[in-house]
């Protein structure tokens, strides 16, 4: 964790942006709202995978994790708090700068880097767990992205991803309602045609050498204003896969 390569005015800019990213009432409110349900899926799947006890303070101590498409660090920070040695990458220099500044403010030791999974694959680095949340639906070639991500998963490692399904319901809720009616996310955030069907994801994972273990939907509960996990995969959903035996 170091900001020594950044200029002071850049750090100030990143710090201001970090306040935005991390303001739970700010522009990233939908991600903050979604986060507990996503974290629950990740924590419980990874705890089962690695045989760890979620009632301890740092269940994943001694394990490494790669967060692909980390944004401002909304998932990387919780993973670091739960004991993982976290490396987090994002294609955007700005996101990485923001995330780095915020982690330092929170006394968390996280390695941030502006990089793509393809670059990490080329270096041959491996992690016990790899996350790619809300990234798959933004890439041009899903299979190539999954192959590069899978290459970063070490032997006996785990992979967790979250994305949006391509259904009429997700067009109505995930795209039109979220962007234009509720204005949860800026208009144009998503291209519905790039949303990924569970069958397409399963096929991509298999080709990348990952064995799909579980899929679970994430849906918004109007009554409690909270996101919950459930069997409905029609809009937002998550998947957990294991590295296939060589």
């Amino acid at each position: 964790m170091t900001t020594s390569t950044a200029l002071p005015e850049e750090v100030a800019k990143f710090s201001a942006l970090a306040d935005q990213w991390w303001d739970p009432q700010g522009p990233f409110r939908p991600l903050h709202k979604l986060n507990p349900a996503r974290l629950l899926f990740i924590r419980d799947r990874l705890a089962a995978h690695f045989g760890r006890d979620v009632e301890t303070r740092m269940p994943f101590k001694g394990l490494t994790l790669l967060d692909i498409g980390c944004g401002g660090g909304l998932t990387a920070e919780p993973m670091a708090r739960l004991g993982f040695r976290v490396t987090a990458i994002d294609a955007s220099e700005e996101n990485v700068g923001v995330a780095r500044v915020h982690a330092e403010r929170m006394d968390l030791d996280i390695t941030y880097e502006a990089a793509t999974p393809e670059q990490l694959m080329a270096r041959g680095v491996k992690f016990d767990a790899v996350l790619a949340l809300e990234v798959v639906e933004h890439v041009t070639d899903v299979d190539a992205f999954l192959a590069a991500s899978a290459a970063c998963v070490g032997a006996d490692g785990a992979f967790v991803t979250a994305t949006l399904n391509r259904t009429l319901k997700s067009l109505a809720l995930g795209k039109i309602a979220a962007e234009y009616i509720l204005r949860w996310v800026p208009a144009g955030t998503h291209d519905w045609r790039k949303f990924v069907r569970p069958s397409e994801l399963a096929r991509g994972l298999r080709r990348a050498g990952l064995d799909l273990q579980k899929m679970e939907g994430v849906h918004y509960d109007v009554m409690t204003d909270r996101w919950r996990l459930g069997p409905d995969l029609d809009v937002n959903y998550m998947a957990y896969a294991k590295k296939a035996a060589a």
Binding site: Q25, H32, V54, R57, M79, L82, M106
Partner: protein, 401 residues
């Protein structure tokens, strides 16, 4: 920025609620510091707090879960029945624990015993730092943390809880207003020893100046909570022991045999207040700092422990997901959960006190008929009893036993 360690939670106020909260958090691995302006040795001195608390069944579960009950249990008295009667009226309401199962209605515990038990537990927890004899002069909030300016130096924490009681300093510093009023009444508290056994029966008598409660303590002793008009209470406080005892004898009657005074008497002003917000940024209110109610139903400390149990549950859930424990959604959940419950109890105790603290004949007749009616309506009575036991509403996990 200061370089001191950042705690997860700073609890300000190490009293019955703050101390229990600190124990509950630290027990779950939450790195906690508890700060109090008083030395614990002062708080456990017999002359510091002469009150006793009616520990509801759910509160007992909570105190058990945080390792405090085992230190207190030997000195408690199970409350098997509560007899409520109006002044010199033959009609009365009778709560018997046998109506709702074999558990007692609650336990009488002396506050000084609770304080000793909490102090013992607080020093035994590796994740708890105790800072006593330290006052808090200021509070700064940033998006990332709270910094408390204390006489022992700055303290940094992700979340600060004020459990400082009714006059919470941090609540004032945060600019959180309270709504409420003072009752023209004072609570006089004294402990008596008596010749005959109380059989674990609590009595609440509605006298014109306010309720008079005889609460059974361990051995042939009882804690008296005597609500008196503020103007006359001063003269009772000024009386010599013999005269004061005669006033007590007149109100208690002869059923406990000969009475003697044990220890000093105390007087507490009574009022109802509730904070308009339970959270502000990274500050949270708990216990009397958030709500002060009339002691008529013996619920004040029980509500505070419910706050503590609910807050612990919410913080631990957030921590185990790796979230910032002071995240807005978690704190909003605490506020929604606890405000509704506390307001309901505040309203109930206020209505009870208003109903019973007068001697207007039609009101008396109405309430006598009311008491007798409630006594005959078993389902309604059971609901009241369950409420007194703390078993109504959304009960925190730590209170389910």
């Amino acid at each position: 920025m200061t370089t001191e360690q950042r705690y997860d939670v700073a609890v300000v106020g190490a009293g019955l609620v703050g101390g229990a909260l600190a124990c509950a958090l630290a027990r779950h691995g939450v790195r906690t510091i508890v700060i109090d302006r008083l030395d614990p040795r002062v708080m456990v001195a017999p002359a510091f707090d002469g009150r006793a608390s009616a520990v509801a069944l759910t509160s007992r579960h909570f105190l058990e879960a945080i390792g405090v009950w085992r230190h207190v249990a030997p000195g408690t008295q199970a409350m098997r029945e509560i007899r409520i009667s109006d002044n010199a009226s033959p009609l009365f309401l009778h709560y018997d624990h046998a109506d709702i199962g074999d558990q007692p209605l609650g336990y009488m515990a002396e506050n000084r015993h609770l304080r000793v038990a909490l102090a013992k537990e607080m020093t035994a927890l590796p994740d708890l730092t105790v800072m006593s004899g330290v006052s808090v002069a200021g509070m700064t909030q940033t998006p990332d943390e709270v910094i408390l300016e204390t006489s022992g130096g700055p303290v940094r924490a992700a979340l600060t809880v004020t459990a400082e009681g009714r006059d919470s300093q941090l609540r004032k510093l945060a600019g959180i207003n309270v709504t409420g009023w003072d009752y023209p009444q004072v609570g006089l508290v004294a402990t008596i020893a008596h010749a005959r056994s109380h059989d674990g029966i609590a009595h609440e008598r509605f006298l014109p100046a306010g309720p008079f409660a005889i609460l059974p303590l361990k051995g042939n002793r009882a804690s008296l909570v005597w609500t008196e008009r503020s103007d006359t209470a001063t003269s009772y406080m000024a009386m010599d022991d013999a005269a004061f005892l005669r006033e007590i004898e007149e109100r208690v009657g002869g059923f406990l045999g000969a009475l003697t005074l044990e220890g000093p008497r105390f007087s507490y002003p009574l009022g109802l207040q509730f904070a308009q917000q339970y959270t502000k940024g990274r500050l949270v209110l708990a216990g009397d700092a958030a709500h002060g109610i009339h002691p008529i139903a013996g619920q004040g400390v029980n509500l505070g422990w419910r706050d503590a149990a609910a807050l612990t549950e919410i913080i631990v859930d957030a921590m185990r997901l790796g979230l910032d424990i002071a995240n807005v959604d978690s704190l909003a959940r605490y506020e929604r959960w606890r405000r509704a419950d506390n307001l309901l109890m505040a309203g109930m105790t206020d209505a009870l006190n208003r109903l019973f603290s007068n001697d207007v004949a039609p009101v008396r007749l109405a309430r006598d008929v009311g008491l007798a009616t409630v006594n005959k309506l078993t389902p309604l009575k059971k609901l009241f009893m369950r409420h007194a036991m703390g078993a109504v509403g959304d009960v925190p996990r730590l209170m389910r036993g």
